[in-house]
Every structure is written in C-alpha cells, then in structure tokens.
Amino acid sequence: MDTVHREYLHPLWVRVWHWLNAALFFALAVSGFSLHFSGSAVQLLPFRTAILVHNASGALFTIALILYVILLGITGEWRQYLGLRPRMLTLVGQNLRFYLIDVFKGAPHPESPTRTQKFNALQQVTYLFVLVIGMVPVAITGVMLSVPETAPKQILGAGGIWPVAVLHTLLAYGLVAFFVGHVYLTTMGPTLWSDIKSMFTGWHERVHGQADIQPQEQGDTP
C-alpha cells in the first residue's frame, strides 16, 4: 500500500508573497502591455487606467520584493537560492534531461523537495537568475521610469531614459516568458494540481513508490 509523505515546504510569509507577487505580476503585465501598445487595435486597459494600475502595482511589487529579500536573509531561506550542493551541474543536467526527455517516458523526477531544499537544482538556478537578473532589475528600472530624476542623465552619450525603458521592456518580456513556463510547470507535480495546492497550504504531498525518488537513491550518471 502506497504511503503519502507530507513535507512542509512553504512558510506562510513565502506563500503570501508568492500569491501577492502573482497578482501584481499579472496586473503589471496587462497594464504594461496596454501602455506599450497603447493606441493599438487590441487595448486591454485605457491608457490612464493602465498608468494608475502599473504605477500602483509596480510600487507594491517593489516593496514586496524588498521585504521578501529581507525576510530571505532573516529566516535563512536565502539558502534555498544560494545553498551549494554537491554535483550541482550534474543535477541540473539530470533535471533538464527529465523535463526534456524522461518525463515523456513516465520516468520519476530525479529529485524530491525537502524543507531545507525545496527547489531541485534546475529550479534553484532558474529562480536565482529570475530573482537577480529579472525581478530586481525590472523593479529598479521601473523605479527609474516612475521617478526619472533617478535615471542616469546619459548612457553612452544618448539620453538615459530610453536605454532604461528598453531594458525594462526586455526584462518584462523575459519575465512574461518565465511566467508562462512557471505556470505550466506547476502541472508537473505528483498530480496536476498538487503544486498549486501546496503553494496554498504550504504542504507538499508525495506518494512513496509512485513518482519521486529521493536524491540518495540516484546514481552518479543520469
């Protein structure tokens, strides 16, 4: 008989930040699209509404991000992003192989989440990059566009706002692409909805003997 193993992965503050972030991200994407493509045939929000929504959501997003980074430091959760693990590159390779090949064969996931290591190696690298070269820069450039006095006057001889705006837009495109993949990958837990459910409850449920394999059960080669 299969046993259900429950692991508490996501503390309340992480869950609150996550869903607040998700809502703000959606609002920013919709309003940002409306601003960038204003005057187009497809207008999701009127320009003035989009300005208000984008500014308010952007301010909340930035405050929430600062609080999140502070709490990562205070609680030690930063190790989820920066904690080194043995054979990191091999594990990243194993996860990539799983998502690109093995999943179609019904193979089990190469890693299972634990309280101290809830991200698999690929997730850890991806989320670190998304946080450091995605969310933080998009917030900084957003602040620069909201308060243009904080933007550089000139970059490489050209006006400073334009490059900041280009970078902000590029990062936004990248984050939307990540968002699409992120939402899709939530369906790759033990069941279709289990990852979404765990982000509400904090508990990750894993059925022994069905899918997940503990890291110590793996061999050295994928």
Binding site: L35, H36, Q154, A158, W162, A165, L170, A177
Partner: protein, 306 residues
C-alpha cells in the same frame, strides 16, 4: 543748467552726425541699444525697453542682416530717432516674397510663411486680439533661431515664449480679464512638470490640421487631452515636435542608428521593432514550447494507458 543742456545738445549733434556718417553699421547701433538698461519712460509711466541682446542677435538666423534692413533708415538717421524707427518692416515683407532665397522648394526647408500667416489668422490669439497680436508678440526677430532638434533647452526656450504671458499673472492681467492658473488647468496631466519639460506647449495647444505648422493656437478646451494621441506608435508628436528630427537624423545617421541613438522616450510611442520582435520570440516561444511539451506529455500518457 543751461550749460549742461548745451553740452548734451552738442553731444546729440555729434551723435547724429556719426549715425549719418556710419550709415548702416550695426556696431554703431549696438553702442546704445546693446545696453541692457537702455529704455525710456513713457508718458503713461511705463517703461519702454530699447535694448536688444547683441549676443543673442549674433547667434540668431538674422545675424547677417543690417539693422537698417528692418528698421527705417529715414527714421533711424535722425536723433532722437523718428517714431517709426522701431518697426519699419514685418516678417512677411521678406518671407513671403517668392524671390526670397529662404523660400526653397524643399518642403522641409521651405519657410511656409503664407501658410503660417493663414494659420495665425485662425488662431485664438488673432481671433480674440485681432491686430494687437502680431508675429513679434511671440517671435523676437533679434533672437529668432530656426527650430532645431528638440532638446530640453530648445523646448524650454519655446515654452518660455508662451509662459512670458501665460505664466506671468501680472502681465496676463494686462492682456485679458481672465485669470489664469496653469497648474490647476493642467492638474489632470500625469507627471505634469515632466510633460512641461519635455513637450512644447504648442504640441498640445495648436491644430494638427494640414499644413500643421504650429501657428493655429487653439482655445484651451480644444487642446489635446487624450493621452493616446501622443502615447501610441503613430504618435501625433511625430508630425510636430519630432517632425524634422527624424528625417534629419535618418539622413545623418541612417535609420537604424537614428532609432538606436534616439534619446527621447515616449511611453507607447518609442517602440523598437527589433525589441518587440525579440519579445514576441520570447513569449511566443514559451507558449509554443509549453503547448508542445504539454501535448507530448498527454500523448505519452495516452500511449501508456493503451
């Protein structure tokens, strides 16, 4: 006392002689009119300034003109000058003449003074003030420079012309019974000061109807109020504020360079097609990848079930 008057009379005579002998030399005019405080007290107690900024004049488009090209020689050569010495000609005396060298055939270089005159006569200034309003109410021929690429400095200078009356409550009160509060009138405008710094008053307050030469000043309630008129890919600013800039920059730097080096940013308008293409590839690629992956999972699960 009479002795002093005699000396002044002698000086005046000497001055008149010199003006006559020097004739058209601008330098001689600047000796008096270049003094910043050179002015006379009118009978009604107001001060009439008779000075002009020689530095600004030498930087203006009119710098090669002699003073007497525009100021009546008949009135200038006597001292004190005759009543009409200050204004013997107007802009259109030179600029609408078909033979004038400035009336070129290149549509971007042509001076369009006939069309400008037509626009001006439709403007709220001319309609309400009629003949009290002239070219010189806004344009000082002693410092006039052709519009250049819209830099913050040139935008500020041009807006300064409007603010000379509309931003000066005391001066505006002399022109109109209305009271004006620019801050309150523009309270609806997001980031009001930034708009004022980066866009000319003319860009919202003049007609865009052809020939669109920014001289048909509209009543305040007909000004541009819809954000999307500027904040869109085909921004109306491209037909006014950036009208010359894009063409000039493209001819100088090439299209791609002009797009890359363009230091202005207007939300919704400053789009780079390559950036949007890259965005479409990123987001579209993610969607296609996810759809393909999802289909693959569904297909393999189905096969497994069979």
């Amino acid at each position: 006392m009479s002795g002093i008057a005699f000396v002044l009379l002698l000086l005046g005579s000497a001055q008149a002689d010199t003006i006559l002998s020097r004739g058209s030399s601008n330098e001689w005019c600047w000796r008096c009119h270049g003094m910043a405080t050179f002015s006379v007290l009118r009978a009604d107690g107001t001060i009439r300034t008779l000075s002009a900024d020689s530095t600004a004049f030498l930087a203006s488009n009119h710098r090669r003109l002699r003073c007497v090209t525009c100021h009546s020689w008949e009135d200038v050569q006597v001292f004190p000058h005759g009543k009409n010495a200050h204004m013997a000609q107007t802009c259109t005396d030179c600029h609408v003449a078909e033979s004038h060298p400035l009336n070129r055939t290149d549509p971007l270089q042509a001076m369009h003074f006939r069309e400008i005159t037509d626009e001006f006569r439709k403007s709220v200034h001319y309609q309400t003030e009629d003949h009290a309003f002239s070219c010189f109410s806004c344009h000082d021929p002693h410092r006039f420079r052709k519009s250049e690429n819209p830099s913050l400095q040139t935008i500020g200078t041009q807006n300064g012309v409007c603010l000379g009356c509309h931003g000066d409550a005391a001066r505006f009160a002399m022109l109109s019974e209305r009271r004006i509060d620019l801050s309150a009138k523009h309270a609806w405008l997001p980031r009001r000061e930034m708009h004022w710094e980066h866009v000319r008053c003319l860009d919202c307050h003049t007609s865009y109807a052809p020939p669109n030469l920014s001289h048909n000043i509209l009543p305040a309630d007909s000004a541009v109020h819809a954000c999307e008129q500027c904040h869109r890919q085909n921004s109306i600013l491209l037909d006014k504020l950036y009208r010359y800039r894009h063409v000039e920059e493209r001819s100088r730097n090439g299209f791609v360079n002009a797009a890359l080096v363009n230091d202005s940013y207007v939300i919704g308008s400053t789009r780079n097609r390559y950036l949007d293409l890259l965005g479409a590839v990123l987001v579209g690629g993610a969607c296609v990848g996810v759809a393909g992956h999802g289909f693959g999972r569904w297909h393999s699960a189905r096969k497994k079930r069979k």
